[in-house]
Symmetry: none
C-alpha cells in the first residue's frame, strides 16, 4: 500500500455509493435524516469517493438531509452528490424548479437521471426522442454553468441499447458533449449477465469516447460480476450500495465490488488503510438500517471465513492460505473453525486455540473432546451455532468435571387456557446453590419464558450478576420430523450480559426439557464470564 | 418449450445439485436422514438431472441415507450420485474400503474428488505428483469396471492452474482418459472472477478435449456469474446448491443459475413445465433446513418482483415488462405492487380455483379473503406453507361461518422433571362436541404431544375417523427474535390420514397456545376430508 497521508484519491477511479438514495428503495428500509447522516459518516470513514445523498426537492426528508449535511457532515474522503432528473419536456433548464433545487442543495456534484431507452421516452416520458436528447443537453449545460460537476445516469441503458443501439449511443453522446464528466450505464431492471455488460460497455466506449460508469441491479444474482465486467471493458466509475441494499433483489454490493478491485485487481480504489474497516462498517450500517447483517455476505459475513469440513481443517493447520481466497484480516474479518461431527481433531485444536485452550500438547484430551462432540451431535446437539455450550464442554474435559453453580431438584411448567381467557403459563423450579434449597415460581409468555423467570428469581439473591443476563433469541428445531410431536427437540438460546452475547444448546424429547438444558448452560456461561468460581 | 412427456432430459447438459453434500456444509445446517430424503424429493420434483446425496462410508448418516434412498426414493427426473475421494496414496483402488463403500451405496453415478493443485498434493495429500495422477487413473478405472458413471471434481482447480498449469491439465487428462464422463473444474476457495473462469475453462477445453463441468463457491459474490462464464466457455455440467447453501459464503445458487440458463440463454435445462415450480421449491427446501427463505433472493425471493410505488407506478400500468427483467410467472413468482392489493386478489383467485372455489364471480368475497389473509399474515401467520389452514379460511368466508366439530372449554399442560427422573408431560383438555362435555388426559413426549393425545382421547368416541389421523411433522419458528423467550411463536403441523397429508398453522405468544390453534385446524381439516359435516 502507499502513502497513508493521501486522504483523497485521485480522480482516475470513482467508488460511488448510492445507499442513501437507491439503497433506501429496499423493501423494509425507512431512513430518518439522522440515520442518513450516520450512514454518510460510515461511508466516508470507509473511504468511498462519492456519497449520493438523495433527491433534494423530491421529498422534505432529502431536502433536510442536504441542509443538515452542509453544517453537520465533515467529510474527509467523500464528496456529497445530489440526485435529480433532466428538466421537464418542453421547458427550459434554467426555469426548472427541480434543477434549481439540485443547485440549492449545495452539493458539489449532481447525478442526473436520463432516459436512454426509446420506448421509455415514448411511454413513460411521453415526449419525442429528439426532445429527450435536448433535455439531456440543456440540463447538463445548465448545471455546468452553475459550476456543478455532473454525472448522467442512463436509465435502462442496456435494454435500450438492445432495442435501439443508435438512440442509446446518442443519449451518451449528448450527455458527454454537454459536459457530463461520467456517463453511467444503468441496468435498471437488473436482467443483464456479465458477458453482455462487457460487450456493450466496450462498444459504447469505442463509439463515444465518453468516460463511463456502471450501475447494476442484482436481479440475476450477477450485480457484482456485472460491475466488474464493465470495469474490464473500461468503465472507471462504479455505483454501489452498502450490503447490496436496493429495490427488488438489490443493487451491486459495495463491499465485494471494492474487495475484488482491491484484492483481485490490485487496484487502489480506497484511501490507504481503509480496507480492513470493511467488515466493521458493513455491520455498522446494517445496525443503522435495522437489518440483521447477512451472515453469508462475501468478505464481511461472520461465516465468510468459517470452516466446517474435517477434510479441510487438517490442511488449514498446515497452511491457512490453502483454504481461503484471501487473508480475512485484509478486510477486517477473521477465520473461524466450526465444530461439528464432520470435524476431526485438527479443527477442535484450532477451535480450542481460538478459545484460549492449547489442546495440541495433549492428544488424549483432544481425542476425548472430539469423541464427546461426535456422540452429542449424534444425539442431536449442534455446536457450530452454540459456541458457549462447546466452550463449557471443552472446559469440563480440561477440568475433569462440569462447571456447576446450582443443581436441580425439580422443575414444573403449567400452561393453561381456561374458558374465556387467554393462555397463561407458570413455572416452578426447586434448585440448590451454596447448600441452600431455593423454590421460586415465575409467569411468562410460554412455558420456557416462565421457566427462565422462575430460575432467575430462585438464584438472583445468591448470584446478583444474573440481573444483567438477558435472553435475546430462542430457536426451536424438531429433529427427525417423521414422528410428529413425539420427535426430539433442539433448542438454541442466545443470551447477553450487555457486553458480549453467547449461544447455548439443549436437546431432549421435550421442548421444555431441552430448553432447561440450554438455559442451564446459558446461566453457567454467564456466571463464568462474570468471573465467579463454580461450586465443587 | 417441448414435449411434456419427456421426464428425463438428454445428456447434453447436466444440472447437478449438491445441496445434500456440499450445501450441508453451511454453518447452521444440520440435516437428518429424513430431511435429506425430503430435500431429494423436492430437487427431483424441480427436475435436476443429478442429486449428490453425500459421502457413503464417511459418516453413518450418509451411509444410512443411501440405504434408505434405495427403497424410499422414487426419482422421476434425477439420478442419485455418491461422493467420495480417489484411493489412498500407495494403495490399490480395488482394495480401498472407501471406494468399496461408494460401489456399495448402489448409486449409479459417483463423483470423485481429486487434487489438481500441486501444493495441495504435496502438503495435504503428502504424496508425489505422479502418484496423485495414478490415484486418479486407478480410482476412475476401478469404478468404471464396476459400471459406475464417474464425474471427477478437480479440487482447487483454478488456483492450481495458476500455480502449475501443466500439472492441472495433466489431472484433467488423467481423469478423462481413464473414463470419467465429466471433469469438473472447482473453485474450491471461491476467489475467482468470471473473466478468469472463462479464460481458463476455454484453455482446458481446447487443451484436453474433456467434457467439462464447473463448481463455484461464492466468496467473491460471483458464483452464479462464474458458473455462467464456464458455460460460455463450453462447460456443459453445472454443480449448484438450492438457495446457494454451502460452506463459508455458499455455493453457486441453483435457482439463478437455472433461471439464467432457461430465461436468458433460452436453453432447456429442466424437464418441460418445471421452471414455474422454482419459487415454491426454493421456499420448501428452506423450510426443511429451517432457515428463513431469503426475501431478496434473485428470481424466487418475495421481494424479487416487488415495486415500490412512485416514479415507476404509471409506467408499470402501461407495460409491466418495462420494469421487470422477466415475467415473474415464468419462475412461479409474482409481481407485488407494495401499495395495491390487486396482485393479491389475482393470486387468491387462482388459489381458490386450485381448491375448487370460483372466486372470480364474487369480487366482494375475494376481497374479504385477501383482507383476512393480509391481517393474519401481519399477525405472523403464513399460508404458503399451510394449505389446509388457508383452505379452512377460504371455506369459512364462503360459508360465512367457521367449520367446527368441537369447541374448547379449556386445556392445560404440565411438564415436570422431579429429582432423579426424566421429564414427563401431561395434558388435560375439556371440550364439547354433539352437546356433550368431554374431559381427557394424555401423556406425551413434550406438552404438545400430550395435548394431541388428550384431544384425540376426548374426541375419538364421537369421531372414530380420528384413529387414522396422525401428526407427521411439527415445526416451531420464533418470530421477531429480539425478545428472547417472550417472542411470538409460529407452529406448523403436518398431518396425514394415510392417503393425503396437509399442513396447518397457529400463531400465539406461547408455543402451546400456537400449537393448539394448529392442532384444531389439523383435526378440523381431517374430519372434513373424512366427509363429515361440521356442527352448526
Amino acid at each position: 500500500m502507499t502513502d497513508g497521508s493521501a486522504d483523497r484519491l485521485d480522480d482516475a477511479f470513482h467508488v460511488f455509493d448510492t445507499t442513501l438514495r437507491d439503497g433506501a428503495q429496499r423493501e423494509g428500509i425507512n431512513l430518518t435524516v439522522a440515520d442518513k447522516l450516520t450512514i454518510a459518516r460510515h461511508l466516508d470513514d470507509f473511504g468511498v469517493g462519492f456519497i449520493e445523498g438523495g433527491w433534494p426537492g423530491a421529498n422534505p426528508r432529502d431536502t433536510e438531509f442536504f441542509a443538515r449535511a452542509a453544517t453537520e457532515l465533515d467529510l474527509r474522503h467523500a464528496q456529497l452528490v445530489a440526485f435529480g432528473a433532466t428538466r421537464r419536456a418542453g421547458g427550459r433548464a434554467a426555469d426548472d424548479p427541480q434543477l434549481a433545487a439540485l443547485v440549492d442543495s449545495g452539493a458539489p456534484v449532481v447525478t442526473l437521471v436520463a432516459k436512454s431507452h426509446d420506448r421509455h421516452v415514448e411511454l413513460a416520458l411521453r415526449t419525442t426522442l429528439e426532445e429527450n436528447l435536448e433535455m439531456v443537453r440543456d440540463s447538463v449545460s445548465f448545471l455546468r454553468s452553475r459550476d456543478r460537476r455532473v454525472f448522467v445516469d442512463c436509465e435502462h441503458f442496456f435494454d435500450g441499447y438492445r432495442a435501439n443501439r443508435e438512440y442509446a449511443l446518442a443519449v451518451v453522446r449528448a450527455a458527454h458533449e454537454a459536459g457530463a464528466d461520467v456517463v453511467v450505464l444503468c441496468d435498471t431492471n437488473g436482467g443483464m449477465l456479465p458477458s453482455g455488460v462487457r460487450e456493450i460497455t466496450a462498444d459504447v466506449l469505442a463509439s463515444t469516447g465518453a468516460r463511463l460508469g456502471v450501475h447494476a441491479q442484482d436481479d440475476t444474482g450477477c450485480a457484482v460480476a456485472n460491475t466488474l465486467a464493465a470495469v474490464d471493458a473500461g468503465a472507471t466509475h462504479v455505483q454501489c450500495t452498502a450490503n447490496g441494499y436496493g429495490e427488488r433483489v438489490g443493487n451491486a454490493n459495495l463491499f465485494p465490488v471494492v474487495g475484488a478491485l482491491e484484492t483481485k485487481y490490485d487496484r487502489r480504489v480506497l484511501p490507504a488503510g481503509r480496507l480492513p474497516e470493511m467488515t466493521r462498517i458493513s455491520h455498522a450500517i446494517a445496525e443503522v438500517v435495522n437489518l440483521t447483517p447477512s451472515t453469508h455476505q462475501p468478505y464481511v459475513g461472520v461465516s465468510a471465513f468459517a470452516h466446517k469440513a474435517g477434510l479441510h481443517a487438517s490442511a488449514i493447520k498446515v497452511d491457512p492460505d490453502l483454504y481461503q481466497h484471501i487473508d480475512p484480516e485484509r478486510v477486517g474479518n477473521t477465520m473461524r473453525m466450526l465444530v461439528s461431527d464432520m470435524a476431526g481433531r485438527a479443527s477442535i485444536e484450532l477451535k480450542g486455540r481460538e478459545l484460549g485452550y492449547d489442546l495440541s500438547t495433549d492428544r488424549d484430551l483432544a481425542g476425548r473432546v472430539v469423541a464427546r462432540v461426535k456422540e452429542r451431535e449424534l444425539a442431536g446437539y449442534t455446536y457450530e451455532a452454540a459456541d458457549a455450550s462447546f466452550e463449557l464442554l471443552l472446559r469440563d474435559e480440561v477440568h475433569g468435571r462440569p462447571a456447576r453453580f446450582f443443581s436441580l431438584e425439580s422443575w414444573r411448567t403449567i400452561s393453561e387456557q381456561g374458558p374465556g381467557t387467554t393462555a397463561g403459563n407458570e413455572a416452578t423450579v426447586k434448585v440448590w446453590a451454596h447448600g441452600e434449597r431455593m423454590i421460586a415460581t415465575g409467569e411468562g409468555n410460554g412455558p420456557v419464558d416462565a421457566l427462565d423467570r422462575a430460575l432467575r428469581t430462585a438464584l438472583e439473591r445468591i448470584y446478583p450478576q444474573l440481573v444483567k443476563l438477558e435472553l435475546t433469541d430462542y430457536k426451536v428445531r424438531i429433529l427427525e420430523g417423521q414422528h410428529g410431536t413425539g420427535s426430539k427437540t433442539r433448542v438454541l438460546i442466545e443470551s447477553t450480559d450487555g457486553t458480549a452475547s453467547w449461544s447455548t444448546v439443549g436437546v431432549a424429547d421435550n421442548v421444555v426439557a431441552a430448553s432447561w438444558v440450554a438455559l442451564q448452560d446459558a446461566y453457567t456461561y454467564g456466571l463464568l464470564r462474570a468471573g465467579l468460581q463454580p461450586e465443587d
